[in-house]
Symmetry: C2
Subunit: 223 residues, 2 copies
């Protein structure tokens, strides 16, 4: 049965771009204004941690969102879209790995245990899935490229696991926001209804909305 949605993807891609800017502003305001800024090396170890959420939101989630939308938002040849898609997803993957290294660096320099939280378990699962998905996609659809039959068979699975991994990325980010806020609130560094908590929670909801529009844009037909 052919499904008719009655709408095209264009308005949803616009919503994704706008929500992406909102999410970037929220994560930057949170980590630079409220949490003191970013640094890779610093006696103030918290600044090293702050690199993690900023890179995850701006360099991983937003880049990956746009990479998914390439098939709906750019009126160019299929090969061109593919190249932009795999390049953007490649950038997102590298940024995610650097962001994870920042979290480990913060833990190690502060003597905090690694990989005990659900956030870390799910994050590691997600980035491994993402890397596998990228590798299999590269080999099957770009170079050397599988035969046509294999491509057709793989395509729905590539889309399904891609969207699943993308959903996990957003779910993991929300776990991270909640973890960070709980640490701050339980030590009474910030109030439960403080402006900072509202901003961080709003970032969480913005990412959920962004994800919903990416899914919508991905499933309806282009323009």
């Amino acid at each position: 049965m052919a499904i008719s949605w009655g709408v095209k993807s264009f308005p949803f891609t616009i919503c994704v771009h706008i929500l992406g800017v909102v999410a970037a502003v929220l994560v930057l305001v949170w980590n630079i204004h409220f949490r003191g800024g970013l640094a890779w090396t610093s006696p103030n170890k918290d600044l090293i941690f702050n690199v993690h959420p900023v890179l995850i939101v701006v360099g991983f989630i937003l880049v990956s969102s746009e990479a998914i939308l390439v098939y709906k938002s750019i009126p160019r040849s299929k090969e061109y879209k593919k190249l932009v898609h795999l390049s953007l997803q490649g950038v997102a993957l590298v940024v995610a790995i650097v962001a994870i290294l920042a979290a480990f660096k913060f833990h190690n320099e502060n003597g905090i245990d690694n990989l005990y939280s659900l956030h870390s378990w799910l994050g590691l699962t997600t980035v491994i899935l993402f890397a596998l998905q990228w590798l299999i996609g590269f080999v099957a659809f770009w170079y050397p490229g599988a035969v046509e039959n294999t491509r057709s068979a793989l395509k729905p699975w590539h889309i399904f696991f891609g969207l699943l991994t993308y959903g996990l990325t957003i779910a993991t980010a929300k776990l991270g926001i909640q973890e960070k806020l709980t640490f701050l609130q339980i030590n009474s560094v910030i109030g439960r209804y403080s402006l900072e908590a509202l901003i961080a929670n709003s970032l969480g909801l913005t990412l959920v909305l962004l994800g919903a529009f990416v899914f919508l844009a991905a499933v309806v037909s282009s323009r």
Copy 2:
């Protein structure tokens, strides 16, 4: 373009049933064995809280998962499937509301603030979406039922928002697990790598896997 997945939904529905049992066992062991059990009224307020995760996992997520699968797992008439689907989703909704009341009851009797965490924000958003989705579904597809054109136009949106809400349910549950564990670990009630933490994190990952199989069963064709 017709998509060929090369598989049918049957094996995925079996995985959902099995993972559902695993998730139920994990949440019960966690809350009864490790957290002391369940009670609606008790001087030990923690027992009131424990009602919340148990009802959410066993009565909301698992029932809702099976409700989604009805269209793939029962070889009966369309009307029959619809009735089972809307009844199960109705049960899930009522259980979710009772589970949320348990969390408020625990907060109020313990003098804890309500609705400050990302878990609570997302949870409230999710249950409101779920209730709207149920109501619109009931009116459009059951009684009085919309005209055929409207039904066809609504159907993809019902499926999309249904799966989105379902994904949010699982994401919210993971936020709850992480919040509870962070509270316990930061007060050193349990260790970061304790058996209890491993069980609760495993519950989180089991719910993610369960969700992935529900999505797969929902998108591929039946049997």
